[in-house]
């Protein structure tokens, strides 16, 4: 599925919730679905700092696709990461250099991408693009 097809699917899944707590419940469940990551992954090198919650991210190129691993110490942040990875994981660097990320706003979580939230998510998206740019130029060389 394309980036946009998955985004549309998430938006549809969220459309059934009319209560905030139901939404959070879903996000928490999504977080729990994220593959368990070794504590050793939580190192400075992978850390994207946020004052409120921490995010760890790494990306590796395998068969022309970037495989991301990500984690957070806060569950809701982790749940949103899981949603982001559903959309952005296992894509070619080219796909990740220029994409329109609209589902977060559509499902009402835009506030989580505000710089003042300091939860690391905005930096994580930037970092994903940085990985894409780096791997893209590597492929082209």
């Amino acid at each position: 599925m394309t980036i946009n097809e998955i985004q549309d699917q998430i938006i549809e899944e969220f459309s059934v919730f009319d209560d905030w707590l139901d939404k959070y419940n879903y996000i928490i469940e999504t977080a729990n679905d994220l593959p368990k990551i070794d504590e050793k992954f939580r190192v400075e090198q992978n850390l994207i700092s946020g004052c409120n919650s921490k995010v760890w991210l790494s990306g590796e190129l395998e068969n022309g696709k970037i495989i991301f691993k990500a984690d957070s110490d806060a569950i809701i942040t982790k749940g949103i990461i899981a949603l982001l990875l559903k959309v952005l994981n296992n894509r070619s660097p080219k796909d990740l250099i220029d994409f329109d990320l609209y589902f977060i706003e559509k499902i009402g979580l835009q506030e989580n991408l505000s710089p003042t939230r300091a939860n690391g998510l905005l930096s994580m998206i930037k970092q994903i693009k940085m990985y894409a740019i780096a791997y893209n130029s590597k492929q082209n060389n």
Partner: protein
């Protein structure tokens, strides 16, 4: 309880609004307080009728505004019982007040090898300016530690105050733990060794009576917006003698007597420290905020808040898995806690959707977080307009958080 809280709440229109699914429960008063209608109205009125720059014009409006600005200085002087109105310097807030002292006091009094003492419970604003000063002057920063109750280890104080110590910078009330420090005793000890004392009153002045003469502190600083006044206005109280000896912090208009390219003569106190156009409307708003709390009476406020805080602590303690950080004997209405296995950020996100405003994270006090080995807390900070019904909603919210993440 002596307060008619229902009537008080009428003075704060913002508290009546509904958020996602119900009425706002505002428990983030240590970050900023809401403004009574009298403050909002006076700001409006001065912009509508009297706006003109102070200390400048000969015209009617400028004169009127200057009088109101200087009247605010007098209100503040009386409120904290300073000896002179010119010992009250208007700044943009606590942070600027501390930076002003760190620069100006530092220029005059600090030299290589000197020591500055802070505590482990300081807000970053009362750490970083001193670190910067120490770097500039090759001085040394030393720290008074805290115990697990969140109280200062005062047994260490005598050893930490050495002949090299020039200044102690200490908070009146911890913005994270709520601890009220025994200032009088600490200041007396410092003075005995010839050490000056700056008190960060950002969380103190709105909750208890402050008498700078009785405390005998050399500097007391606070912010307007945390005492029901507008943002962008704050206060530096300093003893006349020190303020006179300290060089100005910023150069500009209003802080000079005469300027030639060869030499500039600085103005007298307080204007020496008020370069540029001051936030004069902010000062007038602060004047009315202080009048508002004075009318209710700080001791009434303190008594009510103490009771509400103890109700909160007791109700929180009833919930299994909730841990409160900061259990000092003498404590203000700030309650920091965590719910077992729940990140403070997650808790705050869910409470938000239940219309409850709390702060989460490190509260700009990373050394406290390091001490307790935690990444953050949920902080409920209460004001005199909060009610037990609101605390019940908080408790209900905490229980829901526990269930959701459990």
């Amino acid at each position: 309880m002596n307060l008619d809280v229902d009537k008080i709440r009428e003075d704060f229109p913002i508290l009546k609004q509904n958020l996602y699914s119900g009425q706002l429960v505002y428990l983030d008063n240590a970050a900023t307080t809401q403004k009574p209608i009298s403050v909002i109205n006076i700001i409006n009125e001065y912009y509508l009728k009297y706006n003109a720059n102070i200390h400048r014009g000969v015209h009617y409006l400028s004169e009127k505004m200057t009088q109101a600005y200087e009247a605010s200085r007098k209100t503040i002087k009386n409120f904290i019982n300073a000896e002179h109105a010119h010992e009250i310097i208007f700044t943009s807030g606590t942070t600027e007040s501390i930076n002003l002292v760190a620069f100006s006091f530092g220029e005059q009094y600090i030299k290589e090898g000197d020591e500055i003492l802070v505590t482990q419970m300081e807000h970053h604003s009362n750490i970083v300016p001193w670190q910067m000063l120490c770097e500039r002057k090759k001085a040394k920063l030393k720290v008074i530690n805290i115990n697990t109750f969140g109280e200062l280890f005062l047994g260490e104080l005598d050893n930490l105050l050495t002949e090299k110590t020039k200044l102690l910078a200490i908070t009146h009330v911890s913005n994270t733990l709520g601890t009220i420090n025994p200032l009088k005793e600490i200041i007396a000890k410092a003075h005995k060794k010839g050490v000056y004392v700056l008190v960060d009153g950002a969380q103190g002045v709105q909750h208890q009576q402050v008498d700078v003469v009785d405390l005998d502190c050399d500097f007391y600083v606070f912010s307007g917006h945390k005492i029901y006044g507008p943002t962008g206005i704050g206060v530096l109280y300093g003893k006349e003698k020190l303020l006179n000896e300290m060089p100005p912090y910023k150069g500009g208009g209003d802080m000079i007597k005469s300027v030639t390219f060869e030499k500039t003569i600085y103005n007298d106190l307080p204007l020496k420290f008020e370069a540029g156009t001051s936030n004069f409307i902010g000062a007038i708003g602060l004047d009315h905020a202080i009048r508002y709390v004075s009318n209710i009476g700080i001791s009434n406020i303190a008594e009510y808040e103490k009771e509400l805080a103890s109700y909160t602590s007791i109700e929180l303690a009833k919930i299994e898995g909730v841990k409160v950080f900061g259990n000092a004997m003498n404590k203000s209405s700030i309650i920091s806690f965590n719910i077992q296995d729940v990140h403070s950020f997650d808790a705050g996100m869910v409470l938000d959707k239940m219309n409850i405003a709390v702060r989460t994270g490190t509260h700009c006090t990373q050394p406290i977080m390091d001490f307790f080995g935690i990444s953050g807390t949920v902080r409920a900070s209460l004001a005199f307009y909060n009610t037990t019904q609101e605390i019940d909603k908080l408790i209900e919210g905490v229980q829901k958080v526990k269930k959701l993440f459990g």
